[in-house]
Symmetry: C2
Subunit: 331 residues, 2 copies
């Protein structure tokens, strides 16, 4: 049977209230009694019952983390970032991924009302009506990790997709490239949309002509990248460089190009976005944008904990994580 404050009280010859106060660092207890209690506690190897504590306090020190129904490297870094930060603040992390038996909206409803978590972080690739409605319930603080920070009056953490895509294009232009194609991500993904927008705006700023058939549609998978690039490799007028909206599609381009016996970057250059693990080791190594995934999780957790602690309940904050160009050998 796990020791309780009652047993400590008996052992230390004080009341349970004093024990509770001593353990929680109330300054109203003498340092003697405090020492007494602490000794008794460590003698019994006491650990506070978190369930009881959360219950009586009417709030929970558990951070919920709601993930969409795909699993990749990206998520495990987010999880790690959140968990590390939460732990450092005395919180725990509960992961709720949606899957065939559970939608994001369901997860939100559950977490909002069963008292299990004191707040949550939710990853939303694209904000839709249902989710927004579910979030409006309020009651439990939350932070959104999203591609887009225009998500209503919510606290959000985003990457600077637009600016980074913009910078990537400017980098390419400075290198002398004039004929640039873009493979975009899914139409219902805000990261993808913003990257495309950054691409387009940078092109028009620098008077780069955008041919319609050089704006290719992809869906962030390797296959879709391969498919997309194959459409233009057959044509006479080829772009000099292809900027894929993520690394997976860029690597798909590698396949298509290399299986035709063409050379990267001599025949055609490639750049990506995300800097996934493999990009560094691809041949040639891929020029891309490094998204600071760990910082995303970290900052989302920090902001959430501010809200849960009541430290900082001011109006919604829009946090944007800087990301950096990683220049390698693919262009």
């Amino acid at each position: 049977m796990a020791p309780t404050i009652k047993q400590i009280a008996k052992l230390a010859n004080v009341s349970i209230a004093t024990v509770s106060r001593a353990l929680s660092g109330d300054e109203k207890v003498t340092s003697e009694t405090k020492q007494l209690v602490l000794n008794a506690a460590s003698e019994l190897n006491y650990r506070p019952n978190i369930l009881a504590r959360n219950f009586v306090k009417g709030k929970s020190n558990i951070v919920g983390l709601i993930l969409p129904d795909i699993s990749d490297e990206f998520f495990s870094e987010i999880i790690r970032g959140v968990d590390e930060t939460s732990y450092d603040h005395g919180y725990y992390t509960m992961v709720i991924s949606s899957h065939k038996n559970r939608s994001l909206v369901e997860s939100v409803h559950t977490l909002m009302s069963n008292g299990l978590v004191g707040g949550f972080i939710i990853l939303i690739p694209f904000m839709d009506q249902k989710i927004e409605a579910a979030l409006m319930h309020e009651g439990v603080p939350f932070v959104i990790i999203s591609g887009d920070n225009n998500a209503g009056e919510f606290d959000t953490v985003t990457t600077n997709n637009y600016q980074s895509a913009f910078k990537m294009v400017e980098f390419l232009v400075n290198k002398g490239y004039k004929k640039i194609a873009h493979i975009s991500g899914p139409a219902d993904n805000n990261d993808a949309l913003l990257r495309k927008k950054g691409f387009l705006d940078a092109c028009s700023k620098h008077k780069i002509e955008i041919k319609n058939n050089w704006l290719l549609d992809g869906n962030f998978t390797m296959e879709s990248g391969e498919l997309a690039i194959n459409k233009i490799l057959n044509e006479d007028d080829k772009p000099e460089v292809i900027f894929a909206a993520n690394d997976m599609m860029a690597l798909g381009c590698y396949n298509a190009i290399q299986s035709r016996g063409l050379k990267i970057p001599d025949d055609i250059a490639i750049t990506g976005f995300d800097d996934i693990l493999i990009s560094k080791y691809a041949n040639p190594s891929l020029t891309t944008v490094k998204v600071n995934t760990d910082r995303i999780g970290k900052l989302a957790a920090e902001r959430l904990i501010e809200k849960m602690d009541g430290t900082n309940n001011k109006t919604a904050q829009k946090i944007e994580i800087e990301s950096e160009l990683v220049i390698r050998n693919s262009c």
Copy 2:
């Protein structure tokens, strides 16, 4: 304020005990009263306070998942598998990854005694004394995901590293390869050790000579694979095929080989282990062993929940997950 059974009781004109019973499906309540309660509950949009429930029941429906301090694709699939299964059984999943501020052992101690989780799953690459001692505390049911199922009298879920490595070698022998090298993983990793053992035993069974300098040491990273293979590419007597203990090292070999202008598999063939995402898309696609990661998480969770429910408390089970050869173009 979230509705409680008290309010339901008032609304339905019954006692809170009846409400509790009706909601928990006790057969001792009339279907009329049950209906009454259910109506009131849905009218108030009632959700049971999980914290209170767990607290009073003295047990938790939270599954702890303790991960080592690295993050990759593998883990997010495990997390997903565990979460999905847990959810289907009415449990929640809490992730505790160890990192600079928290060791595996600490995690175990915490989860064992603070009542937060009702059981946990722990990933252990290599069982050491400290961890074993921590686990011996008992009190909270747990399941180990490990490379090796010889981990004492514990419930474990493992992949059949040994057999799969064995099969891989037999496959290579059948293809006519006679000169086979192996790059092994870290010496303190049971998966790695068992794969190496499988390799060695299969070689001796099939009378494949094992040259000492063809037994290379790696540490599961791409760099280590590259480093290892470079040691033998300079020699006159080269192996025909290299069996790396994981895909990352196999891909490291790709780099080394291709940067020397050699061709895979014509000049030298490569095989790996794990079947990570990228292996399918590597050029040439990598022959490897597919580890059923999702099943690992799923079965670990199922076994744990059996124990938590008290359904099946019989002696420790050793579950071994089958994995399969994935034959592609690298050999």
